[in-house]
Amino acid sequence: MRLFLLYFSVGVFLIVLQGTFLRLLPFGPVVPDLVLVLCVYLGLHHPTMGAALGSFLLGYSVDVVSSRLLGLNAFAMSLVFLSVYLSSRSIWIQNPLVTSFVVLLAALVKGAALVLLWAVFLSVEGFWLGAARYIIMEALVAALLAPVLFALLRRGQNYVEKFRVAAQ
């Protein structure tokens, strides 16, 4: 439960960051999707029901603050989590390059899911080219930042576990 709360708090913090501070970064209109990186992290290192629910909630939170239609990001994040979880047995992440690659693939999955849902629920003319550009750029930025965020999350996790052991 503590870890769930920790990751959810981190997720909320990342959502706030994405809406405010990260807009200042020089990536143009693309905002680094740190929530996606967190979902990938959860799928790889915390494949639990709580993490699945957490991914959904984080996606839903993104929808609440930014999406035109509720459920879009909730679906995409849940799909990312499921994809990473299902493939996590065959992935052994030990270096930042692999981390970046996994996050890149996950971002592409999320982008594909969003495009699909967008096409079904929100048909917008001339959407595909712009979407493709956004997906690729967002995936690259997320992949770039993933190793740093992974390292920070691992450190936070170690801290919480030490705290739990000390409390016991």
């Binding site: 706030v16 993490a51 239609l69 909730a74 849902l117």
Partner: protein, 278 residues
Amino acid sequence: MLAFLRKNQVALSSCCCLLLSIYILTAAARGQLKNEPLSALLMWIMRPLQIASQETVNWIKGFQENYDTLAGFRSENERLRKRVQALEVERQKLLEAEATNRRLKELLDFRSHLPDTAITASIIANSASSWFQSCLLNKGSADGVRKGMAVVTPLGVVGQVVAVTARTAKVILLTDPNSGIDVLVQRTRSRGIVSGSLEDGTVLKYVKRSEDIQEGDRLITSGVDGVFPKGLLAGTVIKVRKQHLGLFQFIEVLPAVRSERVEEVLVVAAESGAEKKP
């Protein structure tokens, strides 16, 4: 069955989340999802954080904008400063051109009173020795300058040409101890020789003690030496001293032309055509 569920609980829960998402999407797309409590709760959680973050971001943006504005002012200031410098240089050039134009015009006017053979020349160098008061002109024998010609300006006498090459002419100035110009005191018509001296500056020599010479008297060329046209100002008397002994007075003269301030001169042929030593 229970074992299957337990074994695949994560995948199943994820699938449930996916289905729930689809349901929410459908409901939202149909407009059936109004006033749903989870959104309100999440917004309630995130709102203060977002406000605080946005305030900070606004502060950072403001700071950045201020910095950019300041940097803009700085670069604008630098640009304007360079512009002012360029304009100052241009202004100096224009002032210089105007002054040159004025001098040349005066020289031209003055030239109309002189013989047609007058040659306009520029001073290109001054004496390299403190023992001699001379200068070099940019005109020489190829331009018609001959040894012994008078060098004058509208202000008065400058000196006399003492050496000529094809493209240059050396002029010994009125203030040189070796020079000597026959002059008249304009007021009394007394005659004398203006010459330079190492110890007393420019002096008027050979004026009898009995002559009435006063400070401020103007000395003009007499024209009798055949070198300088008559009536040119050579200088002004600034000091008169009658010694107890001797035939002549001591008269100090302020030259009419300060050679270090002259840039253009006229070289005038001797009226008599003779080349005389200064």
